[in-house]
């Protein structure tokens, strides 16, 4: 795989949220405003960059049997860094993201990139992969948040949109609107790709670290 390919594949073609349907909890929860979505995307991208780099550096050191706990501790460390940074410098964002900031630890996108990519590839490629996956996550969040903010509160990035601001549909900012907006986007992707992009995909199992145990147990 060429480096350019690694860098760009996550944006659209292998988008972690829109195509692989991973990390849906944060994608739905923080996408009420475009500015929150951007903040969450940046935080997750930073964690991905950190974890992918360190795991690629340590890929020959970490024993195979305990690799998942090692990854989780590393990821939790980077999440703590992000938490402290946002609390100190971007306090409004820290409050807006609330519980979903520490929850980056259990975001399966981060763990799955460590398991699928970083433990088998060089540091440089892992960094490219982190940028690509983090960028794709941010793009997905921005897309969902744009639909929800424009329809739900008639603004985009805090800027008022003339007609919509007076005639907004508040349900889009609330929980049901999140599921609906995500459904609309997936339906559009289905339409544009003529059903190819998501043909064989199922909910969240692609690249999920627990997928194997899950399939073994006959859950999926």
């Amino acid at each position: 795989m060429s480096r350019l390919n690694i860098l760009t594949k996550g944006f659209i073609k292998e988008n972690p949220v829109l195509i692989f349907l991973l990390g849906m909890c944060p994608a739905l929860a923080v996408s009420t405003q475009v500015s929150n979505a951007l903040g969450m995307g940046a935080a997750t991208t930073f964690v991905l960059l950190g974890s992918n780099t360190v795991i690629a550096l340590l890929r020959n050191v970490i024993p195979n049997k305990v690799r998942i706990p090692c990854y989780i501790v590393l990821i939790a460390g980077f999440v703590t860094l992000v938490q402290m940074f946002t609390e100190a410098y971007v306090y409004t964002l820290y409050q807006a993201l609330g519980i979903f900031l520490p929850l980056i630890v259990v975001n399966c996108i981060v763990l799955s990139r460590a398991e699928i990519f970083a433990q088998k590839n060089t540091v440089f490629n892992s960094i490219l992969d982190a940028i690509s996956t983090g960028g794709g996550f941010t793009i997905a969040l921005l897309a969902i948040a744009s639909i929800r903010e424009i329809l739900g509160s008639g603004t985009w990035f805090g800027l008022e949109i003339p007609v919509l601001a007076a005639e907004n549909i508040p349900i889009f900012v609330m929980a049901p609107g999140g599921f609906a907006a995500f459904g609309i986007i997936v339906a559009i992707i289905n339409k544009v790709s003529k059903g190819k992009a998501l043909k064989k995909k199922e909910f969240g199992c692609e690249g999920c670290p627990s997928a194997q145990t899950c399939v073994k147990g006959g859950v999926e």
Binding site: I72, A76, V106, A175, P176, F179, A180, L198, S210, V219
Partner: protein, 198 residues
């Protein structure tokens, strides 16, 4: 101990602030496992079980270790480690001492370590400044809410699987729209808590 306060916490976690349908916690397992009712119930019981255990384990650690020695910033790392270890321990103990329970819940346990609902509940307990008993009730309510959402949705899903939507809405989009409608239905509960005791 005021029973009313506990009841309010319980009902709020089950109906008004349902973890899946209004707080978006545990959406992945909710959509992944709700295809089959038997699995949905098994998974939810495992969630309730682990939520309670995780609360029992994390609450004292936060209050008697992290708070006492000003280690609050270690919360994320310590909690995720405790939950991951706890899940492994429970699996080993159940396998050894209760094979029947293990055969019912065992397959779902490895999925718990990365379940954001479990991690979410332990953090909410601390953020909401709840007492130990309140935290336990909150965990029980959150788990029961998950069970309720799972069982209701697995029933709906049996119908959407056989429905005939427009081609681009087949599969995932139609499922998401049914969750949206179910979540809308749970919005109807939002006034219940305020008026529960007059």
């Amino acid at each position: 101990m005021d029973v009313k306060v506990l009841l309010v916490i319980m009902m709020s976690a089950i109906l008004v602030n349902n973890y899946v349908l209004s707080q978006f916690l545990g959406v992945c397992p909710f959509l992944g496992v709700s295809k089959d009712r038997k699995n949905a119930v098994g998974m939810s019981v495992a969630v309730i079980f682990v939520m309670l255990l995780a609360t029992v384990a994390t609450w004292p650690i936060q209050h008697y270790l992290l708070d006492r020695y000003n280690l609050g910033y270690m919360q994320t790392i310590v909690f995720i480690l405790i939950i991951a270890t706890l899940v492994q321990l429970v699996e080993i103990v159940l396998k050894r001492y209760s094979p029947s329970l293990y055969s019912a819940l065992g397959v779902y346990l490895p999925l718990m370590a990365t379940n954001c609902a479990i991690f979410g509940v332990t953090i909410t307990n601390i953020k909401g400044e709840m007492t130990f008993i309140e935290s336990l009730v909150n965990a029980l309510g959150a788990g029961t809410g998950f069970l309720l959402a799972m069982v209701v949705f697995s029933g709906i899903r049996e119908h959407t699987e056989n429905a005939d939507p427009p081609p681009s809405f087949k599969g995932i989009p139609i499922t998401l729209f049914s969750v949206a409608i179910l979540s809308l239905a749970f919005f109807g509960f939002s006034g219940v808590i305020e008026n529960m005791f007059g």
